[in-house]
């Protein structure tokens, strides 16, 4: 399940969905979730708001493609990927990824794969507002390294 939305998400509802029989027909018992939040209190610089822009259409296609790749690579149920757009405040939830598998290692890897690819392939852009004004965030080399490692990694 893929959703790009301005509304907040409820992790309890999503957890029910990831474990529900229609989504998880084999009753996979290892469930990994990742939630990314707007940093709540930054010691160096107070972030007062975050604005998330995206490319409607391409975003959903990219996330569906990442989800599909993960399902081809690991024995997992259909992942849930939720990403918020629009205006967000410190502490707000931004992104949710939920993965169920019979094998915890597969669930961990698939979940990390999805967020690593989302960070480098999905057309979202973050703009931070603080006392100094607005700043578009720069891409991070560490995110690219994280995504690249999945092409080199030949282990299951």
């Amino acid at each position: 399940m893929i959703s790009v939305q301005t509304a907040d998400f409820d992790i309890a509802t999503l957890y029910q969905q990831i474990t529900a029989r229609e989504n998880n027909p084999l009753g996979y018992g290892a469930i990994i979730t990742f939630v990314g939040k707007v940093r709540d209190f930054n010691l160096e610089q107070e972030v007062s708001a975050l604005s998330l822009e995206h490319y409607p259409g391409m975003t959903e296609k990219t996330l569906a493609n990442i989800s599909q790749q993960a399902m081809e690579r690991w024995p997992i149920a259909t992942p849930i990927i939720i990403h918020r757009v629009g205006e967000l405040a410190p502490g707000d939830q931004i992104v949710y990824i939920g993965v169920a598998s019979a094998h915890r290692k597969a669930a961990f890897e698939a979940c990390e794969f999805i967020i690593d690819f989302l960070k480098t392939k999905a057309p979202f852009w973050k703009k931070e507002s603080n006392a100094d004004g607005d700043n578009w965030l720069n891409e991070r080399e560490s995110d690219h390294q994280a995504a690249d490692k999945w092409s080199q990694d030949t282990s299951e």
């Binding site: 990314g36 995206h54 490319y55 391409m58 296609k61 057309p123 852009w125 578009w136």
Partner: protein
């Protein structure tokens, strides 16, 4: 017609999010289209500096030598920073 869209910094510097353009063989690949648009004025030139600029054709990330055809949607944007 080509449908051209811009996002994030690229959109802000250019000052608009989209435009349409009659397709011409003079810009039949992405690099040629980028150069053509960059030629508009100094702001467009700055916004469309190839360094770090990404481009998608019909909502798929594409290399600069990708050929384009009438009816395509082409998007220019900076590196993505979601998640």
């Amino acid at each position: 017609m080509l449908s051209i869209v811009f996002f994030a910094q690229t959109r802000e510097i250019i000052g608009q999010g989209e435009l349409t353009l009659p397709f011409e063989s003079a810009f039949s690949d992405l690099e040629m289209l980028r150069a053509h648009l960059a030629n508009t004025n100094d702001k467009w030139d700055l916004a469309l500096t190839r360094d770090k600029l990404l481009v998608a054709v019909n909502q798929e990330m594409s290399p600069w030598d990708t050929e384009i055809k009438d009816g395509d949607e082409v998007a220019f944007f900076p590196p993505v920073t979601g998640g």
